[in-house]
Subunit: 283 residues, 2 copies
């Protein structure tokens, strides 16, 4: 489906409507005129990958990403081998559900280790080991730099520049790309320069807003577009200027939004998207 007017490049990440099953999220998108959907693996696993693929295909939705592979860092070789195996399954799932984009959250410091350079080498090695399988299945690996507050426990890849260094080291072509997630990168003084550098390596553009104060669980401190402190139109224009023409995926982790009925969240989200789109100079 092409999406309702003003929503042609909008995608719902299923983490935003956390309580919905995949079938409910798909139906919700169709009803709201949202043509894209970003899938988390837990929702895909619940439905089964083949059935998930059928669900989204029959509804005419575009799967904009599968979240997520990664977590390459582990204290020992067995742990890293297990992570690699799981990443291979994630690549296959991405291909099955019909997306060419597997988002990688690369992993934090291994348990008991403070060796940040060592953990970063594990990420580079993990991507190198995974890449042939990804190429074989026509799936791009999209490195997601996470906000530096998650460096210890979730991702030792903390900036877009660093993600691009790894992407360029890993592949001469766009088989390894990057995610621009507003929440994670908005603060970066090098952001404009690195988005321009990223160009065709931008595999995914995700949005939500930075709301204050941060909640007790900083993972959940995200708000609807327009409710926080990120200049999102400026960011979207920069991503557009770099050549990105893909979907804008809305991914919000927020307990209050999770406690809201999905239809209401989608209604809010589409209204925000239209307002936000109207403020772009690029589109």
């Amino acid at each position: 489906m092409t999406g309702a007017p003003g929503l042609e490049r909008l995608s719902l990440n299923t983490a935003t409507t956390k309580r919905w099953s995949l079938a409910e999220a798909v139906a919700g998108c169709v009803a709201a005129g949202v043509p894209g959907i970003g899938l988390w693996r837990d929702r895909v696993a619940e439905a089964g990958a083949e059935r998930a693929a059928r669900l989204v295909r029959d509804a005419g939705l575009t799967v904009t990403s599968l979240c997520r592979g990664g977590f390459f860092t582990a204290p020992d070789a067995a742990g890293r081998a297990a992570a690699l195996e799981d990443n291979r399954r994630a690549v296959e799932e991405a291909a099955t559900v019909g997306t060419d984009t597997l988002i990688l959250v690369c992993g934090g410091l291994p348990e008991g280790s403070n060796d940040l350079p060592g953990a970063r080498r594990m990420v580079v090695d993990g991507i190198a080991a995974l890449l042939p399988h990804a190429r074989q299945h026509g799936v791009r690996l999209a490195i997601e730099p996470l906000h530096p507050m998650f460096c210890a426990d979730r991702a030792v890849v903390s900036t877009l520049g660093q993600a691009l260094d790894i992407a360029e080291e890993s592949a001469d072509d766009d088989a390894v790309g990057v995610v621009v997630d507003a929440y994670h990168v908005w603060w970066d003084p090098q952001l404009d320069r690195q988005i321009a550098r990223a160009g065709s390596r931008i595999a995914s553009f995700q949005v939500c807003d930075w709301v204050l104060p941060l909640p007790a669980d900083v993972l959940l401190g995200r708000g609807h577009v327009g409710d926080g402190r990120i200049d999102l139109p400026r960011l979207a224009d920069a991503v557009h200027a770099a050549g990105y023409r893909g979907f804008t995926e809305v991914e919000i982790f927020n307990q209050e939004i999770w406690d809201t009925p999905g239809e209401q969240t989608l209604s809010e989200l589409t209204a925000r998207h239209r307002d936000f789109s109207a403020r772009l100079s690029s589109q």
Copy 2:
């Protein structure tokens, strides 16, 4: 005083022993053999700057920094002028208490604004306006990059590289320097390079550790050296290699540590410092 063996370059930041008055902190340092003290302005104000100066001088302590000036960002010109005035007072206080280092926490996004480049310009302008007064009083302005999780509300200066860009733009000499605070910069993939670049602009080295999970108030998520995920000996060696020979100031914001008697905190802190110093390759 020269400090007890193994503590010759150790400084207590008064924020670590938050419940102590300045007189108590000074007495605590002397008893524990800690030769340096970093002062917060609230403690100086309580005592009065002249009396504070006498207290530390009579005890033979070195004042390693005054925390803090900054907060240059404000929605209007009157707010920025008020901030500048307050910064001038902070410069004078630094000179009075006998330190050449005024630490600057530069301020977040102005109320109601999402204009990050604009806020950053306010910081550059504020430092330019303050610098003549600082030079006149023989006080260095030490820009402290804060962890990016504080970008919206406390400091739009988020990386050491960015702080150095501003320092170099502001002064040809070391009259504008930078703070290397482990808690704020440890995650930065460019850290080694930027510390080497900083060289003689390193005006202060502050340590504590990054403990998980982050507490509800992320300002308070700091732990004793050795309790968290930062490779502090590696960081200290890098700072040493860059030429820094000043004090290591321990600054810990942590409710549990604040609830601990100051003597006990100092005892813990000196033990950690000796252990940490023994693991340095540089000293």
